[in-house]
Symmetry: C2
Subunit: 188 residues, 2 copies
DNA sequence: GTCTATATCTAGATAGAC
DNA sequence: GTCTATCTAGATATAGAC
């Protein structure tokens, strides 16, 4: 055979990996198949050996994103809550605001997920529930867990939606402080 | 003249008004000019008598959205904080989650705003600052004001990104409770 | 499995008639 | 100011050569 046994799987993986970054930065619907394929050094026609449609890629991208994020955010939490605080500092950072391609999928593609197929939202729901459950244990409060997740996602959306560097920073800094005050200071 | 003096202004207003609802529901970039014009009973060609480009419409839509929302959310706040609580109940409601076309522009088009021209984000920033300032007065805490705005926007994004009605409701209810507990219960 | 070439469709935008 | 017709460009997706 002209191509190795693992070649197809490798190409598929590389495509998804690259598409994750590109579409978080530029939007999914506004990015063409040709652009995605040429980013991995191939032409548009080859795409359909890997996915039956562009929409199928969207599902694969979101599932990969969610798997990745929820493992990172829900996994390996110790009882001290220190790792959760570190998580929040990373999430609510200027770097994250300025680099959607490396960051969480929800602030970047939340709008497109809302309009996607049920399977896509099912995957998102499953991942979110994992994170919420883990954080509920750390915070000892199921409501607070959802609220903190909402704050994180919302702060990123807001911070990216404003123009000046000053306001960008103000939003994430204030949100970080407010979470600290409400959930990490005196008690617990 | 074949058309009244106010005709053009009326058409423009109707176009923006309709585009606001349609694009919050279906996304801006994924909605065509023809669809927007036929929604007000006209054909695509007439669009360019009102806007030089589709992008110019986006700016007008966002500016209108922001003007509308920030007046509603920042204006007419009395000192008791009761109106703010009513605002939050409306924002964090199942109705709002299920009807993006009538709701806040940020959860719906936040991703597209992040990729838009600086003027668009400038308008968003100005409106957000108005709301933040008003809420900071009510809450007596500038950080808390940003945090509450972030929670509201984030909760809507999350709630619309999941599949089951149960989780949708859980997210907004938990967020509402957490805000109540952190900012409206004992003190103040 | 990937390429080139292409079919098909849709989108944004323009020209000229009314 | 709005219409129809059209240009142009870009998109998704397919066919056949290698």
């Amino acid at each position: 055979m002209r191509y190795s046994k693992t070649h197809k799987a490798e190409t598929r993986t590389k495509l998804i990996e690259t598409a994750r970054a590109i579409t978080k930065k530029g939007g999914f619907s506004s990015t063409g198949v040709d652009a995605l394929m040429s980013a991995i050094g191939m032409t548009g026609g080859a795409f359909y050996s890997h996915f039956p449609s562009k929409q199928a890629l969207f599902q694969a991208v979101i599932e990969d994103e969610i798997r990745n994020s929820s493992e990172m955010l829900a996994g390996e939490q110790n009882a001290s809550g220190e790792q959760l605080e570190q998580c929040l500092r990373n999430y609510l950072s200027t770097f994250h605001v300025l680099h959607p391609e490396e960051g969480c999928v929800l602030p970047a593609l939340g709008g497109e997920i809302a309009r996607a197929e049920p399977e896509v939202r099912g995957a998102v729901e499953k991942g979110l529930r994992q994170v919420q459950k883990a954080w509920a244990n750390r915070l000892d409060d199921p409501d607070a867990a959802w609220a903190v997740i909402a704050q994180c996602v919302g702060a990123l959306v807001l911070s990216r939606a404003v123009e000046t560097e000053r306001t960008r920073k103000e939003i994430i800094t204030s949100t970080r402080k407010a979470i600290q005050k409400s959930y990490f200071s005196q008690e617990k």
